[in-house]
């Protein structure tokens, strides 16, 4: 019995940090409508700075002072980020905001390693809370008790801040209707900045307070952000009480999940999240999301099928690509195969994202499931390659059918967070369920049959499949189903009013995209000869998003070009520098802020400008918040 009580108290202590970070995210989202992906990064910097300060400053005062000082320093960094980056993208679509803050996260990951090194850092114990308390033979660290008390105290302080101060009233008003608040003469710029600073302060405080419990390391940002996304999905974005209740719930589920499913404890959290989403799609304490903000002028050029000239040009490009083995060496062919596979991956996400308006942040899950499908079939069932290639992607299809069903119940940022959480769950299963997946060691020795074994043959196979998939998905864009999918993206209300079951259409699109990604993953498994959990990791999901974004979200052909350019750049970059995340993160932010229409979008805009001299829509992302003036 005592054991369970201790387990319960440990869960409560873990909830404190989770609550701090989640409430910060919620407050920022409530006012600015930005889901700050970089929140995990701020949490991590908080921990690192606090580590450095506590090493320098001695004594109890030094320790606690360091914690607060670290959080303040990170809040200051937050202010700079808000003024330099976020002010430029408040009017951008949600996807761009998520991506820009993700780019920031990538940069921070490399910077942290650069400054503090790659090793785990173990910090000081908290003065006054070094011991443990004996509870019927079980030890409870007294620092845990401190954290258990801290959570409700912070909740109370936040409550007072929002109910009793002028600033709190403004924040609550802005959460309901920020345009109205601006119209009433409130300086919106500084309101946004201060809200962001408070949110970041909470995240950094959460990180700093973790030092006595956990080692500080450079991957803690992604781990916390996924948990925080789960917390806000369960609790409801924008609700602080919801963040508290859900943080406690998730932490307890984690604490007890280990006892029930020791290998895959995350399953329990997933099941609870699924139930909450079915019963209350906007979280326990959340409110239904207002209709997604329409970004004016985002897609003004209606899509059209290729003209016969353009078809000929595409065919010619394909033929030229097919001649590569005649003059290129084996390395170039392997790179070519990889690019072709990523074209498949990118067009599958593009279909979901641009045609369906559903920006998945966890698309790699289905790519990776396809790869694992191959591994299971080839290694365990011993099936020949051709059978594996046909059946392997079905695992991606299955995953997309299960997760997609829940994901399409939501839209916008909720959809993005949910798909990310699902992908992370699949990753955890692949990582933790060692007996089946081999865990971190992966599954090795997947070699293609002899007919596809030579680099040139494999290249032709990958190229052929990529061409087939691209043509098929393009045909679908201009099929009756494609029209219906675009209709659900543009107006749910109108779709339902003309007999379209929008959720089912979107679910179908999700399954199509997931299966296609699975095809890419299946080929990837054979290309690499192995499968690892990284094949379904977050960074691969983001790669896909960047490829689509780079090509141009609003275009039909962008994904292909985006994939080719991005993958080629990426392979080159990794060979040139150790700081690829830093460069990549900066690159992502640059595209979002300066180059939002992507390569194909830019080309189309230039072509249009040449056709008629009328200026196309003003660059919509370069505008700062005018309503603040």
């Amino acid at each position: 019995m005592a054991f369970y009580v201790v387990q319960f108290l440990t869960g409560l202590a873990s909830a404190a940090s989770l609550f701090l970070v989640a409430s910060g995210l919620s407050i920022i989202f409530g006012v600015t409508r930005i889901v700050n992906f970089a929140h995990g990064a701020f949490y991590m910097i908080g921990a690192y700075i606090a580590f450095t300060l506590t090493e320098r400053l001695s004594g109890a005062f030094g320790f606690w002072g360091s914690i607060v000082l670290a959080a303040l320093a990170v809040a200051l960094i937050g202010v700079i980020v808000e003024m330099v980056l976020l002010r430029r993208i408040y009017h951008a679509p949600e996807l761009f905001q998520l991506l820009a803050t993700f780019g920031l996260t990538l940069m921070v990951e490399d910077l942290v390693v650069l400054i503090w090194g790659p090793d785990d850092l173990v910090g000081r114990r908290a003065p006054g809370f070094k011991g443990a308390i004996d509870f019927f033979g079980q030890n409870i660290p007294s620092y845990d008790l401190f954290l258990i008390v801290l959570g409700p105290v912070v909740l109370g302080i936040l409550w007072l801040l929002f109910q009793r101060t002028r600033w709190g009233v403004l924040v609550r008003a802005a959460t309901q209707d920020r345009d109205m608040v601006a119209a009433l003469g409130v300086n919106q710029k500084w309101l946004f900045t201060s809200v962001f600073a408070v949110g970041v302060f909470l995240a950094a405080l959460g990180g700093a307070l973790q030092i006595p419990r956990d080692a500080v390391h450079h991957a803690m940002d992604l781990r916390i952000i996924v948990e925080v996304f789960v917390v806000v999905v369960i609790g409801g974005l924008g609700s602080i009480v919801g963040a508290f209740v859900a943080a406690v719930l998730v932490s307890e589920l984690n604490a007890f999940g280990i006892l029930i499913f020791p290998k895959i404890s995350i399953i329990l959290v997933f099941l609870v999240m699924a139930v909450v989403l079915i019963v209350r799609p906007w979280g326990l304490f959340g409110k239904p999301e207002a209709a997604a903000r329409k970004t004016p002028g985002l897609t003004v050029n209606p899509w059209r099928p290729l003209t016969s000239n353009e078809r000929l040009a595409s065919l010619a490009a394909l033929v030229i690509a097919a001649t590569l083995p005649l003059f290129a060496g084996n390395y170039a062919l392997t790179v070519g195969s990889e690019i072709a596979i990523f074209v498949i991956f990118a067009v599958s996400l593009h279909f979901l994202m641009s045609v369906g308006g559903l920006a998945s942040f966890g698309h790699a899950a289905y790519f990776g499931l396809g790869a694992y499908g191959i591994a299971f079939l080839a290694k365990m069932a011993g099936l020949p390659m051709i059978v594996c290639l046909l059946l392997g992607p079905l695992l991606g299809c299955l995953g997309a059918a299960v997760f997609g069903f829940f994901a399409v119940q939501l839209s916008g940022v909720y959809f993005a967070m949910l798909t990310l959480a699902f992908a992370q769950i699949v990753w955890s299963i692949a990582f933790q369920w060692v007996s089946v997946t081999g865990g971190d060691n992966g599954i090795l020795g997947l070699w293609p049959s002899s007919w596809a074994a030579s680099p040139s043959h494999f290249y032709w196979l990958a190229l052929g499949v990529a061409a087939l998939v691209t043509v098929a998905l393009r045909a679908m864009v201009f099929s009756p189903f494609g029209y219906a999918l675009r209709a659900t993206r543009d107006s749910l209300l109108r779709s339902e009013a003309i007999g379209i079951d929008a959720k089912r259409i979107q679910w179908t699109a999700f399954v199509i995209a997931g299966t296609t990604a699975g095809i890419g993953g299946a080929l990837f498994a054979y290309l690499k000869g192995s499968v690892f959990p990284d094949n379904l990791g977050i960074s691969l999901s983001v790669d896909a998003l960047v490829m689509v974004l780079l090509g141009g979200v609003e275009t039909v052909s962008g994904a292909v070009i985006g994939a080719i350019v991005y993958k080629a750049l990426n392979i080159w970059l990794v060979s040139q520098t150790d700081l690829s995340k830093l460069v990549l993160g900066g690159f992502i932010m640059l595209i979002v802020v300066v180059f939002p229409k992507g390569i194909v979008g830019m080309l189309e805009m230039l072509a249009q400008r040449r056709r008629k001299s009328s200026p196309p829509g003003s660059p919509l992302l370069a505008k700062p918040i005018e309503s603040a003036e």
């Binding site: 201009f478 099929s479 029209y483 675009r486 543009d490 109108r494 009013a497 003309i498 007999g499």
Partner: protein, 263 residues
């Protein structure tokens, strides 16, 4: 009882939000080919009433029957399949698609081709889509992106979309709001002629009394959630209760309203 049930029969429709009775025991019916106006001051419950007819909103009690078939509480998409088209007070169209594509989506849905993955949508019922657009006077706009249209044109496009499934009943929530006076008359004249020709029943709400009295065959008046009058335009115009609760204020409001929107 006659052998043929009325096109639309509404019986004791009731809806409350918390303690507020938005709609209380509303009953009326509508024949095929008849144009029925639902009027009432702001907050009378017109929109709530409307939303309950096509399943956008669920009534607490009461019945909605279409040709005798119970449709109360059905989903909007199911009600549409039974032949009820609808336009919205604030237009809802597919902004990134062209005008023709907007109509084509409705036709695709009507012909149950929504899950057709391989057909060519640009060629799908192109002629029929063009004909519907001609019918509402939008033939020249077929290839324009829908997002570029003026508000009045969007209203006409919504009418074309609503006609795509050859409806038996059209529900039009403030069909002429936001249009110039000339356009209002044109649109309602068009609607009336289509309705009479194809024997479609039309139920519409409207603030512009000129439009209402010129085009409605019959008028029902809603005030604070209950029906207070029903009859021909002449009867309703002469009803003292209507004058007291509605027309007195309504005309003043309406004059301001029109000034605001046509500016």
């Amino acid at each position: 009882m006659s052998a043929i049930p009325p096109l639309l029969a509404v019986e004791g429709l009731t809806k409350s939000y918390g303690g507020i009775h938005a709609v209380r025991g509303v009953s009326f019916s509508l024949r095929a080919g008849e144009i029925l106006a639902l009027i009432g001051p702001n907050g009378a419950g017109k929109s709530t009433c409307f939303d309950m007819l096509n399943g956008q909103n669920k009534p607490d009690s009461g019945h909605v029957r279409l040709l005798g078939e119970e449709i109360t509480g059905r989903k909007p998409r199911e009600v549409w399949r039974l032949g009820v088209g609808r336009t919205f007070q604030i237009t809802a169209t597919f902004a990134t698609m062209t005008v023709r594509e907007n109509v084509q989506v409705a036709l695709i849905s009507h012909e149950k081709q929504l899950y057709n993955l391989w057909g060519s949508a640009p060629k799908f019922d192109r002629g029929e889509a063009g004909r519907l657009l001609e019918l509402v006077g939008m033939g020249g706009y077929a290839d324009r992106p829908c997002g570029e249209l003026a508000y009045g044109d969007l209203k006409r496009l919504e009418l074309a979309v609503a006609l795509a499934n050859q409806p038996k009943l059209l529900l039009m929530d403030e069909p002429t709001a936001g249009m110039a006076p000339r356009e209002r008359v044109d649109l309602m004249r068009l609607t009336a002629s289509i309705a009479r020709e194809k024997s479609i029943g039309v139920l519409f709400t409207e603030h512009d009394m000129d439009v209402v009295f010129e085009h409605a065959d019959r008028i029902i008046v809603l005030n604070r959630g209950t029906l207070i009058a029903e009859g021909s335009p002449a009867e309703v115009r002469g009803n003292p209760q209507v004058q007291a609760v509605y027309l007195g204020e309504g005309l003043v409001y309406d004059a301001r309203h029109r000034e605001g929107t046509s500016a």
